[in-house]
């Protein structure tokens, strides 16, 4: 049963808070919904690319002449065809098509547009590329040493600031003094694996050139406006000559945050002067898009007192960033430092983060973006401390949870600290006893000598929106002459119900039913700027922008009605979508006001809304500041069964708790929490993308090798608990959620495995072979 804990005393709502189906639900279930790959244009060509067959090689020569002569081929491009061949959201270091070197397996070197896929693929094989293979940089820690081969000139550790510093620090308080006070110092070290986002829709792109010469790209991007910036730079075209027409993706999970396909199709469409389409194979999806980050080192050192208080914590993080920067600096290296210490009261904190280049596909952002890694390391470390103190893991956490107004990891006070409410809800649903005297974990019974059961816990926090300021959202709401409503935002519907959620906010604000509202999403030509559907930001940030836009249009409607009815504005109120006079029986519908605006008053009935998060960048010296406006909290408990003869782990039951502030649509909230379960369970137990890289045959070539969580991997007995303690900022009190739901499972499961067997998993995932080896070393198998 889904439990809802409410502290809200807000005004009753009619649309917001309802369990509503998606606006496009009927299209999705009847095969009618359109994705980019479903677009067929007259004269359209198919695209294939020549991919780097080596992890690291110098390009000696590229000869495309035989490919150009192949029947059906219309255009072939190499780096020589790219006006500006370097791009990157923070650091422009990634080539569109490789020129001097290839730096990871699968990097595109050339691309072909031809009559059909087979002709394009055959032509690709006729492109001759002569390489000089070089020793690849594979191990991030080894890459940091003096004399290691370099991925890029200038060293493998990325500069984190303009002055060339290569370590990012957060220094709060005095850690040395803190450690001196400690009764006990606990150290742990962890690593995490590379994962693949694996949206069911691989990247697809259709590009065409219209009659005016404008490039139009039908894109599955999560961030059309961000991509437009890079595309204009690459193509050397002004913004009004490049349109990214998106708005829907078949899943993203961060893989569609950064530009990796649309630039190549745009270049080919321009060269061929024909529409082109590229749908990636699953193998291309594996190798050409950015990957999840792997942490080659997550070292924790904590000083604690016998009473359970933490007096000092040091965290050292080394991110294996693959071949190019993308989000690595300054974003990733900052973000993990902010959340690494966990939702605890820690007066003295020192974080050191580094980002290292290796000859692997570049690390971008994936659902959970660094914070998932931090949760795993922090919460396993927390259990180690509890064990060292001889304290119940829940009790230890309870004694040291951060409370309202406490100093956070970067010095700013924490507002909206609700970890205690989340954890109490988890404990109640799971049966982990929490009293004034302490905590008692639930008893478990082993079903047989070789099958052992245990319980695990995780507490967590994360931010809303991107880290460190500049996060802005804009929206426009228009009332048409029949009273129907169009809301335009740059957000993209990637499956979480972004469009319907925002539409519900608009409908609520205007007092109209949801089916009177149409959302126009993610098109650089028809929607206002937005960073995109990423970083936990749509409901929280974009929600405020659309709410304000709706408010603005409501005010404009009232003003227009006042003019038409010749009544003072303050005599008018909006009730159930009708503008009524308080003093008389006069009233106007939105349709009447819309018509009056258009034909009598000569004005548009349009409202604009924007929101700029109050978060700010961290101080580059101290790492202190206020990197997020709204911290969000969550808690989880699981019970697992470990087969000590095979190393297989079954998750038997789970409780996941999120404080969402206000569930705009509880059905969607559950959907996100359910989906986070599949991500999280697989992160804990299954997914390891290319453990043998540069041998990619054991993972990175498709779903036959790279396994996702399946139906049978999920615990049947799973409970979502939705806590609603309103945000001071978000629309109707809503906080962020979507990205965050995948972060708590791995630590909770790892802690449960420890509870069951005494073994610590220090490198994710706990695959059966790996766990069995550990069990044997510990003498448990």
């Amino acid at each position: 049963m889904t439990t809802v804990e409410r502290q809200s005393t807000a005004a009753p709502t009619k649309v917001v808070g309802q369990r509503m189906a998606r606006q496009e639900a009927r299209g999705l279930v009847s095969g009618r919904a359109r994705y980019v790959g479903d677009i067929f244009l007259p004269g359209m060509l198919a695209v294939k690319a020549k991919l780097a067959p080596y992890p690291n090689a110098r390009i000696v020569r590229i000869d495309t002449s035989r490919a150009e002569a192949h029947p059906g081929v219309v255009a072939v491009i190499t780096h020589e065809d790219v006006p500006n061949n370097r791009h990157g959201i923070f650091t422009p270091d990634q080539p569109v098509l490789a020129d001097d070197y290839v730096r990871h397996i699968g990097q595109p070197v050339a691309a072909v547009a031809a009559a059909d896929e087979l002709a394009a693929a055959d032509a690709v094989e006729l492109i001759e590329v002569e390489y000089e293979p070089l020793e690849p940089v594979l191990d991030a820690l080894a890459a940091m040493e003096e004399g290691a081969p370099e991925v890029h000139e200038g060293g493998n550790v990325a500069p984190v600031s303009a002055d060339g510093a290569r370590v990012f620090h957060i220094r709060k308080g005095d850690v040395e003094a803190g450690f001196a006070e400690a009764d006990l110092i606990v150290e742990s070290e962890f690593t995490t694996q590379v994962r693949e986002h694996a949206p069911m829709e691989t990247h697809a792109s259709v590009a065409e050139v219209d009659a005016t010469g404008k490039v139009v790209i039908h894109s599955c991007s999560q961030a059309p406006h961000l991509h437009q910036i890079s595309l204009c730079s690459i193509l050397g075209l002004p913004f009004h000559r490049v349109r990214v027409a998106g708005g829907r993706a078949g899943g993203g999970f961060g893989s569609k945050n950064d530009l990796c396909i649309d630039h190549i199709t745009a270049l080919l469409a321009l060269k061929a002067q024909r529409p082109v389409k590229w749908i990636w194979t699953r193998e291309e999806e594996c190798l050409l898009s950015s990957k999840d980050q792997a942490y080659a080192r997550l070292r924790y050192r904590s000083g604690v007192k016998r009473d359970g208080s933490i007096v000092a914590r040091e965290v050292e993080a080394v991110r294996d960033n693959g071949a190019y920067t993308i989000f690595g600096v300054p974003d990733a290296v900052t973000k993990i430092g902010v959340y690494a210490p966990g939702p605890y009261r820690i007066p003295n904190y020192h974080y050191q983060g580094q980002v290292v280049f290796t000859n692997k596909p570049p690390a971008g952002a994936m659902r959970g973006y660094n914070v998932a890694d931090a949760h795993y390391a922090c919460e396993a470390h927390t259990d180690e401390i509890a064990e060292a103190l001889g304290m119940d893991p829940l009790e230890f956490r309870w004694r040291t949870f951060v409370d309202e107004g406490d100093e956070g990891s970067t010095g700013a006070p924490v507002h909206g600290a609700t970890i205690r409410q989340c954890m109490r809800a988890a404990a109640e649903a799971f049966g982990w006893k929490l009293t004034e005297d302490g905590a008692v974990k639930p008893e478990v019974t082993n079903p047989s000598p070789q099958k052992r059961r245990g319980v695990g816990i995780c507490a967590g926090w994360q931010g809303s929106g991107s880290t460190g300021g500049g996060d802005t959202a804009t929206a426009e709401v228009e009332v048409l002459i029949d009273g129907s409503v169009i809301c335009r935002t740059g957000a993209v519907e990637i499956g979480a119900g972004e469009g319907t959620t925002l539409g519900m906010i608009v409908a609520e604000e205007l007092g109209v039913p949801l089916d009177q509202v149409t959302m126009v999403l993610g098109d650089t030509e028809s929607t206002p700027f937005d960073l995109g559907t990423l970083g936990n930001r749509i409901t929280y940030l974009q929600g405020v922008a659309v709410k304000r836009a709706a408010e603005a249009v409501r005010h404009a409607a009232v003003a227009a009605a006042a003019e038409v009815l010749e009544l003072p504005e303050d005599d008018l109120e909006v009730v159930d979508g009708v503008i009524r006079s308080r003093s008389s029986d006069q009233q106007m519908s939105y349709a009447q006001v819309g018509g009056a605006c258009k034909f009598a008053l000569g004005r548009e009935l349009v409202g604009h809304g924007r929101y700029l998060s109050s978060a700010s960048p961290l101080d580059p010296e101290t790492g202190l500041g206020n990197p997020t406006e709204q911290v969000i909290f969550a808690a989880m408990m699981v019970e697992v069964e470990v087969d000590t003869r095979t190393g297989k782990v079954d998750v038997l039951r789970s409780v996941l708790v999120h404080d969402v502030g206000k569930a705009i649509n509880p059905l969607f909230v559950e959907g996100q929490m359910d989906g986070g379960m599949a991500f999280g369970v697989a992160n804990a137990l299954i997914e390891d993308f290319y453990p043998d890289y540069p041998d990619i045959d054991t993972g990175a070539r498709g779903f036959h090798e790279y396994k996702l969580a399946r139906m049978v991997d999920m615990p049947d007995d799973h409970t979502n608990v939705i806590v609603e303690i309103p945000s001071r900022h978000g629309a109707f009190g809503a906080k962020a959620l979507g990205e965050y739901t995948a972060n708590l499972q791995a630590p909770a499961i790892v802690n449960a495995i420890h509870d069951a067997t005494g073994v610590w998993i220090e490198h994710l995932p706990a695959t059966p072979p790996k766990l069995l080896r550990a069990l044997r070393e510990a003498g448990v198998s």
Partner: protein, 291 residues
């Protein structure tokens, strides 16, 4: 706890990218004789039934060969025919039928258990018994436990080869023999198939109380050629099943998997699973608790 590392040669380029399939001739004979004749005339012919292996794998490199002969229209390959003490399962019987056909489940439960770990429902509706017999692991261990024999037809006539020999390609000398059927025995009713990452085992037994009076055991895996554990069968036959005895069976399975080699860490796990799955198959077939 350290993970095993491989050191692949970075100078070896990847050449078998996933790409569209090159064209091929495609012929659909209506009878086994016709199919055999097509196979005999051209050494490049590949028989294709469900295509779940050939089409899937062919896309890496982009070829299913120049000449396909599709067996899907030959009805005689899709039948299951009983004979005294066994069943002749046509090579074109789809794997899903091993799970859904009540008679098959009754007579050869290990086959259904094995089929249920092959891919998903949809793929099992395409993939056939004849296509899966040569894939290590998969149906192989269950077929071995049922005394499976592969019926082969070629230009030179019909022959039968035991499944484990067929897999090892022992005694197959003609070009492109057509698998027409698998004959399995239903003489040992107590059956179980157990699988875990890289190793699967099947046992078929006849029991008299807790004494095993007859047994066949099959073992295989992705990197473990399908085999029959005759030494283990000899040890079990006529014996009362005890924990110690089953552990000895597991020991034999482990040794067989190792094949005298010192395995790397990945294969060490496969060997251990060979042991554990074999023990569990024997225990489950005998109705004993799994260890």
């Amino acid at each position: 706890m350290t993970a095993p590392t491989r050191t692949p040669d970075y100078r070896q380029p990847i050449t078998d990218w996933h790409r569209p399939l090159a064209d091929a001739t495609f012929r659909a004979p209506q009878s086994v004789d016709e199919a055999v004749a097509l196979g005999a005339e051209d050494e490049d012919v590949r028989y294709i039934a469900g295509g779940t292996a050939l089409v899937r794998l062919g896309r890496w490199g982009g070829s299913v060969g120049p000449s396909l002969v599709w067996l899907g229209q030959i009805d005689e390959l899709k039948t299951v025919t009983p004979f005294e003490g066994g069943l002749t399962i046509g090579s074109g019987v789809v794997n899903g039928r091993l799970i859904r056909d009540a008679n098959l489940v009754q007579d050869a439960p290990a086959l259904g258990q094995a089929a249920s770990v092959i891919a998903g429902t949809a793929v099992r509706n395409l993939g056939t018994v004849g296509g899966n017999v040569a894939i290590d692991g998969s149906l192989g261990p269950a077929l071995v436990a049922l005394g499976g024999e592969v019926v082969l037809r070629s230009g030179s006539g019909e022959r039968t080869v035991e499944v484990q020999d067929y897999v090892a390609e022992d005694g197959i000398d003609e070009d492109t023999p057509l698998v027409t059927a698998i004959r399995v025995r239903t003489d040992l009713p107590a059956q179980s198939y157990q699988a875990m990452l890289g190793a699967s085992a099947a046992a078929a037994m006849r029991l008299d109380g807790d004494v095993c009076t007859a047994v066949r055991i099959g073992l295989g895996g992705l990197d473990l050629a399908t085999r029959r554990l005759t030494e283990a069968e000899g040890l079990l036959t006529g014996q009362r099943l005890t924990d110690d005895l089953v552990a000895q069976i597991g020991e034999i399975a482990d040794r067989s998997a190792r094949d005298g080699q010192e395995p790397d860490a990945d294969f060490e796990y496969v060997c251990t699973m060979a042991r554990v799955m074999t023990e569990r198959a024997v225990d489950a077939a005998a109705g004993r608790p799994l260890r």
